[in-house]
């Protein structure tokens, strides 16, 4: 028996879902839609009486107050909708997880109704109005479904395919006698993304043991050696050459680099030897000390390729994955906050210029934000910090960075699987989703990516992962396992392969719980199905562990053991399907050498005169997508859950100003707090990635300092998103960015504790490959002893004094002010660590003494944006004089109001001081660059006097705030 149930809002009620879609349709430029009605569809199959089906509708599926339902005894209801308008019904593709099914089944069982064998859901949209069939298709394709995971349901077509059984057949790949060309073909057809050298090494290994590999063995090696898992670019040799003038600041010199990561990022941490670094670069996240009994771990990941193809699912599983990194750190950390940073194409990009195979940036953005919202909120992890940047260069390759920090007891920070420990997989079941994710993200995207790699795209089930967190923490505290790691890219292959790298592992693949039948042994092994963790468990504790999971409806199964034989042995129904030497897998990869070159681009400086009124320029910068308010996004995230939020992402008298960093109390019983911030600016990288990297570190650090965070307790994470590193110019920039990281982090005394890279962010269309602007995200995390010493950015009281701290220089290169006039410039902001460190320390001391009323850092848009934000967030006016600001330039002609107001020099702050703290403040900063530039006023205007003493900007703060809030008020 099959029942179709349609649930929709009662006539006359406001259909919020429908209204939202109607707005999106008008954004597409399609007018004529009068109304969109949304209907939720359920298909229930099984031995259920009609009376019971009626009960299911009344008591479970339809809200008796706001909804009506239609119950039909068939897959489709009759009669059809009246003419005029279109109905579009969207369902998930077979094999794609639909979390609602499980909940509906549970609800039906709770009603005491047994016999519902399967539940499927679909969404139906009724689009009324005067639109054409092709417009309806366009709406469906652009807004309502993504063919990678969903399809349009057609009347008469079968709603699902019955799962097929899998008939075992061991498949071998002929490699021993293969020629170079054949090896290449094997790699590309099998989506292995291995180069010829690597394929030859594999061939030699199997020639040595006298047999061809099984498909499963080849997949395992490809996954282990993928850029995504092995980080070949950062670990291999690089022959680097640069051509820079001898006087250029920041030369690193042409050289052979043996391991970029070890020569730069890891080197900083080794040299600094901070006693509060607990575990760095060795686990799924980096761990630092927090308070007496607990440490903090932090990891930021990227999920760019999947988000480009399916924004909701990509971001959804991106956040899900980084949360599991936290769970898989040491013996497991409890997630306490998330961060997210995105780079998108321009939201107003024209549809007709969009390359084939590309989703519109606005759809990507809405999808990504929804994906993070869905997963983060449902997990109950506050999303507290982030940034969003926009540039045409991200149209084809959006960047999605997701971070998670966790709290972990000091005695749970390390793990070790023991010989004889059982291998347990816990959490979600394994399906055919996410196959080839690790290797897929190690290559460039092309127009065909969406068809070829659709298996790499999936959507998450946050509630499954929430159950996993809840139960795993209990199991950890009872000491029920000896090691744990997440199943991320590469699935079981990666998780078991890494955990058993020393010991060796034996796995019986038919013991892995499956979502449906029909999976081959290879698919089981490399599937990247979400919400799974792998544990090493002492055999005597396995029953207790599995019972603990089962008590909260989490499935766990023993699938093998760590043998001590140093081999990877995989079985399927008793058949040996893989037998590899762990040493070969992990150490057998041939060294690669890549070439890198860097030369300074030639960008012109401006010849335009300084406008007499800088108001319009300030408003334009405030309205730029990068600077403008991200409230539309931030409010969709629950940033207060867990109760630890102390410094909110939106701050000020009306709770809508832009905070510099977030402050979180992960333990409600402790006064200690964690401060988290980020630095990112791809524009500086267009001039020199070295100074971009240094500036990103400065930005992240100064935001921490602006909130009162101590420099000496601050750690960093690096996330590089770059183009194809096999191209020397791309790699040259990456080398310079890494060395810039070393220079700045070392000078500021900031250790890196973890990081990740995402390379090959290029898109091939019409015969040309386009790379994203090389982008580095620096995340900073700091520990503040007393949460009450937090400082925030909004103006507090009229009559208070306004200072600028830090030297403003003629560094307009890569600034937003230049970008407004179509310029990049060459004078990129640099850092001056000796002076900057003194400023940071002085502000730290002043914050601890409670002498700072408010502090706001100067970033994009410089002094002008910073002053405006401080004023309007506090609801107060401000008068400042540029003649009083310390400004340094070599060329007298460049001593101009606009440059002083909009230069993006590093290490600068605007600080509000109450008049009675004037002496204390000035004494603490004696000898450093700072100056009193003005006061806060009741009058509600921002007034800026120029070098000649005349007013060069006079704007109502309400107008400035409106300019800042308007662009993304969707």
């Amino acid at each position: 028996m099959i029942y179709r149930i349609e649930v929709l809002d009662k006539p006359g009620l406001f259909d919020a879902v429908g209204e939202g879609i109607a707005r999106d349709i008008s954004d597409l430029g399609i007018s004529g839609v009068s109304e969109v009605r949304y209907t939720q569809v359920y298909l229930i199959e099984g031995e259920v009486t009609r009376a019971d089906a009626g009960r299911i509708c009344r008591e479970l599926l339809a809200d008796p107050i706001s909804q009506d339902y239609l119950l039909c005894d068939a897959a489709f209801c009759e009669p059809e909708q009246p003419a005029g308008g279109f109905s579009v019904e969207v369902a998930y593709n077979p094999g794609v997880m639909d979390p609602v099914e499980e909940s509906v089944k549970k609800g039906i069982l709770d009603l005491g109704i047994k016999g519902a064998a399967s539940v499927k859901t679909a969404r139906k949209y009724r689009i009324n109005g005067n639109i054409s069939a092709s417009q309806a298709d366009s709406i469906a394709e652009k807004l309502l479904y993504n063919k990678l995971i969903q399809h349009i349901v057609r009347r008469g077509a079968p709603s699902s395919h019955p799962p097929s059984e899998y008939n075992f057949h061991l498949s071998r790949v002929r490699i021993i006698g293969a020629s170079g060309a054949e090896l290449r073909r094997l790699s590309s057809q099998g989506q292995l993304f291995l180069n010829l050298d690597e394929m030859r090494t594999i061939k030699a290994y199997f020639s040595g043991i006298g047999r061809d590999p099984t498909d499963c063995e080849l997949e395992t090696i490809a996954q282990t050696w993928s850029e995504h898992c092995a980080h070949k670019t950062f670990r291999g040799r690089i022959k680097y050459s640069e051509s820079l003038p001898p006087s250029y600041k920041g030369r690193i010199g042409s050289r052979m680099i043996k391991g970029l990561l070890k020569s730069t990022i890891i080197k900083v941490t080794r040299e600094l030897r901070k006693p509060w670094c607990v575990s760095v670069f060795e686990d799924n996240s980096g761990i630092i000390k927090f308070e007496g009994r607990n440490n903090i771990c932090f990891k930021v990941e990227t999920h760019n390729h999947p988000s480009a193809l399916e924004p909701f699912g990509g971001a959804n599983t991106g956040i899900g994955g980084v949360i599991r990194d936290c769970l898989g750190t040491g013996l497991g950390a409890k997630p306490v906050f998330n961060t997210d940073v995105f780079c998108f194409g321009l939201p107003d990009y024209s549809f007709k210029d969009l390359p084939a195979g590309i989703l519109h940036p606005k759809r990507v953005m809405k999808g990504v934000v929804s994906g993070v919202r869905d997963y983060g909120n449902k997990m109950g992890i506050p999303t507290v910090n982030g940034a969003v940047l926009f540039d045409e260069g991200f149209t084809c390759n959006p960047l999605v960075y997701c971070g998670t920090a966790g709290i972990i007891p000091q005695d749970k920070c390390f793990k070790k699987a023991g010989k004889g420990d059982l291998i347990v997989v816990a959490g979600g079941r394994t399906g055919r989703d996410g196959i080839h994710g690790a290797t897929f993200s190690s290559g460039e995207l092309t127009e065909e990516s969406e068809t070829v790699s659709s298996g790499a795209v999936q959507i998450g089930n946050p509630i499954e992962e929430k159950k996993l967190v809840d139960t795993l923490m209990r199991a950890r505290d009872r000491g029920l396992y000896s090691s744990v790691t997440d199943c991320g890219a590469g699935g079981l292959s990666s998780a078991v392969g890494e955990m058993g790298a020393e010991l060796g592992a034996k796995v019986e693949l038919d013991k892995v719980p499956l979502k449906y039948s029909g999976l081959s042994y290879s698919e089981i092994w490399i599937s990247e199905s979400q919400e799974r963790m792998v544990l090493a468990v002492d055999g005597r504790k396995a029953d207790e562990l599995i019972a603990l999971f089962a008590a909260e409806n989490v499935e766990a199964a023993v699938i093998g053991e760590f043998t001590g034989r140093g081999r990877l042995e995989l079985f399927y129904r008793g058949n040996l399907v893989a037998d590899l030497d762990m040493k070969f897998m992990h150490d057998g990869r041939p060294d690669i050498e890549k070439k890198a070159v860097f030369k300074l681009p030639a960008h012109k400086e401006t010849g335009k005169p300084c406008p007499s009124d800088l108001g319009p320029a300030l408003k334009k910068i405030l309205s730029s997508y990068d600077v403008c308010s991200k409230e539309w996004i931030i409010r969709q995230y629950d940033h207060e859950v867990q109760g630890g939020s102390a410094g909110k992402p939106l701050t000020g008298v009306a709770c809508d100003g832009p905070a510099d960093a977030a402050v979180v109390r992960p333990l409600m019983s402790s006064r200690k707090a964690v401060i988290v911030s980020n630095g990112i600016n791809f524009r500086f990288g267009r001039i020199d990635p070295y100074w971009m990297a240094a500036s990103c570190i400065d930005e992240a650090l100064r935001q921490v300092v602006a909130c009162g965070g101590p420099v000496g307790r601050t750690a960093l994470l690096d996330n590089f998103c770059w183009g194809n590193p096999d191209k020397p110019d791309r790699l040259g920039g990456l080398v310079r960015a890494s060395y810039g990281c070393y220079y700045a982090a070392k000078a500021y005394g900031l250790p890196f504790i973890s990081g990740k890279d995402s390379l090959y962010n290029e898109y091939m269309y019409s015969g040309k490959s386009r790379a994203i602007p090389g982008t580095l995200l620096i995340s900073a995390v700091s520990v503040l002893d007393d949460v009450s010493k937090t400082v925030s950015m909004y103006a507090r009281e009229a009559g208070d004094l306004i200072y600028v701290v830090g030297l403003t220089r003629d560094e307009m290169g890569g600034s937003l002010y230049y970008e407004q006039s179509g310029l990049t410039g060459s004078s990129v902001p640099m850092i001056y660590p000796a002076q900057a460190m003194k400023i940071f320390s002085a502000l730290n001391r002043l914050a601890a003494a409670g002498a700072l009323r408010s502090v706001h850092d100067c970033s994009e848009g410089g002094l002008g944006v910073s002053a405006a934000e401080m004023a309007f967030s506090g609801g107060l006016g401000m008068e400042i004089s540029l003649a009083d600001a310390v400004y340094k330039c070599a060329d007298k002609k460049r001593r101009r109001n606009d440059f002083i107001l909009f230069s993006e020099s590093n290490s600068r702050f605007i600080v509000e001081i109450s008049p009675e703290k004037k002496r204390v403040f000035e004494r603490e900063l004696k000898g450093l660059s700072f100056s009193l530039i003005g006061t806060l006023e009741e009058h509600g205007q921002l007034i800026v006097r120029g070098l000649d003493g005349r007013v060069c900007l006079r704007e109502d703060i309400a107008g400035l705030k409106e300019a800042w809030q308007k662009p993304l008020r969707w």
């Binding site: 008796p64 609800g107 409010r635 969709q636």
Partner: protein, 260 residues
């Protein structure tokens, strides 16, 4: 002094359980997190507690509709023990998802047993929103809000919080019987429009109680304002000595002490 015992009910997707327990602890109660499976299997008995708290979160992913699946589970599987608990004069509070559960199981407004008479539906803005809101405490029969009297400030964070009564008569009934315990308002207490009323709720209703005043549900999160560091303006510039959220927990605990 002996402490009232609070059962903080959790299940798949509950996520405000720990901070709700912390708030009850601050208010002088002894709170315990109890999984619904344990309660259903008899591993814990509701009779042993004085307060039942349904915390915020996304129980069962809010699939079908927010709170619906757990509401259905309470109604079908825990009916007897919940009825016994309520008729023993004990207290129930539902926060955010907990409020949605109380309304969808029919426990609120609770004028007809286990029959849903009101709902909490998708926000008019059609999206999840987190923001701080001002709340008026009208004169009501609610024991949880008794004596607060002034405008309080709490965060909301939900996508389905628009309160809707079955019809105008039943809305009238809730108001007339003084069951509207918390309403959205402007900072000065005046009637709210969006975003002060963040979801389009009828009569600005943010929380209601049953006729006895002992069962209380609200969309805002009082457990997120029980320490001064949680307040958006920090400790500075605020006159009242106690964070607003704790007042609600203290009221409940004070009442529950009488049951000891």
């Amino acid at each position: 002094m002996k402490k009232p015992r609070v059962c903080i009910l959790r299940t798949a997707g509950t996520n405000c359980d720990a901070e709700t327990a912390f708030a009850f602890g601050l208010a002088g109660a002894q709170a315990e997190l109890v999984h619904v499976n344990v309660l259903a299997a008899g591993g814990r008995k509701l009779d042993d507690y004085h307060i039942l708290a349904l915390p915020g979160g996304f129980s069962y992913g809010d699939d079908i509709a927010a709170g619906k699946v757990l509401a259905n589970e309470l109604r079908c599987k825990l009916r007897d023990s919940v009825e016994r608990f309520i008729s023993a004069g004990k207290l129930v509070i539902g926060i955010c998802n907990g409020f949605q559960i109380l309304v969808k199981s029919g426990l609120l407004p609770g004028n007809a047993q286990w029959k849903q008479e009101a709902s909490l539906v998708i926000n008019d803005s059609s999206k999840f929103e987190a923001r701080w809101v001002h709340l008026r405490i009208p004169e009501s029969v609610c024991v949880w809000t008794e004596g607060i009297g002034r405008v309080i400030y709490l965060p909301v964070a939900h996508g389905e919080g628009k309160f809707m009564a079955a019809d105008t008569a039943s809305l009238r009934c809730i108001l007339d019987k003084r069951q509207a315990a918390v309403t959205y308002c402007n900072e000065d207490g005046s009637a709210a429009v969006y975003p002060a009323n963040p979801n389009g709720s009828q009569a600005d209703i943010a929380g209601i109680c049953d006729a006895t005043g002992r069962i209380f549900g609200l969309m805002p999160h009082p457990e997120r304002n029980v320490q001064s560091s949680q307040h958006p303006l920090g400790g500075s510039g605020r006159k009242s000595s106690e964070p607003d959220g704790i007042l609600i927990f203290k009221n409940g605990v004070r009442y529950a002490r009488k049951l000891l």
